[in-house]
Subunit: 122 residues, 4 copies
């Protein structure tokens, strides 16, 4: 099983089963899950806190560090999936809709190579 | 297209194309993306900041609020996908591996209905 | 020494000395410090992640938990002081200026007992 | 009034008055305030998200950007003060105690110029 054969629904079910077996939906109010997601996002940041952006690009060269970062990213995803389950959202639809909005917000001609109006590097 | 027919690889490609068209990989050092992910996680929290956990469970009853929350969750996912792309990770493998670890860390018998050792409600 | 006799300048100096002895200003780019601050804020949230707002009000009844929460809040403050030092800001001026802005943004008549326009409880 | 003449107690009182006039203590459960603090920390990060650590050191050269960053830092502090008020903490004591712990955790000889064991630059 890999990203090319795993659907979002597969992962949602995987997470729902993990939660159900522990009777944890009682804790999974979206308010609480939003905190959990932010906490895991912060743990992911810890790996990059003191290194430069350039050094952070080389993290994937080190299998141990990559695995540690992958674990934190997985935690972020697990809570995102749990929240998706609680809210009854179709995540792929939400992502496609948001990217379509961002296509309009960040027109290619205006933003190519620039992250925003204040970025005057080219 | 929905969660049951969309693979992780589909979403990764969708995001990679969005980024490539804008030549934004230059900004997508994992360090920067970890900040972006945490920033979007905070924007998601904003929707739940002042309401109770119980009220947060009813957000999905309101289509407008649900759409707004879905947009923020999609932003979190987009940056998670961008980081996955930069790191060259297989996300479904990382998630399965992390959930397997959590199965061992939180045995069902010990954690059913409890979030941790300090939770003495049963 | 207590809050009534300690000035902001005292704490800024206290933190500056701690940093200088370790030659850590090399790491204290505001970008990095903003990540550190967010990471410590997340560690503070961990204490409240799964409990209700009401339960969180009773944390101060338990001296051990209060001390643990106080430690996390202190970490947040330390990084805020470090950033203040790096930026050369007068923190008390910044706080007074921001509260003055908020006085205008949240007029008492309109916001008494309400956190925002969507809060219709009274 | 400046950092050298303003005590922590002054700022705590300043914030307590702002909150009391709006009857906002009803919202200020520590759980909620921990979310607010993390949200403001994320807004502070937004200013540094796409720039390099070196560029972030030059933010203080630009008065407009410095003022904007100062506003976000002030927001972080305001919620930290509000939480201090709710918890009944003496903040200067908590900070001194935490820095004393960190003095032991990060001995000067071992950590001078290094942020951690994995930092092998000297």
């Amino acid at each position: 099983m890999s990203d090319s054969t795993t659907t979002i629904a597969d992962l949602k079910q995987f997470m729902a089963d993990f939660v159900a077996r522990r009777d944890w939906r009682r804790f999974h109010a979206p308010k609480n899950l939003s905190m959990s997601l932010a906490i895991e996002a912060a743990e992911l940041m810890e790996h990059f806190q003191w290194i430069s952006p350039e050094e952070s690009r080389r993290v994937s060269d080190n299998p141990d560090r990559l695995a540690a970062v992958g674990d934190e990213l997985a935690d972020v995803l697990c809570y995102a999936l749990a929240m998706t389950n609680e809210l009854g959202l179709d995540l792929s639809t939400a992502i496609r809709r948001k990217i379509a909005k961002n296509e309009l917000k960040y027109p290619v001609e205006e933003y190519r190579g620039r992250y925003g109006p204040e970025d005057v590097r080219d």
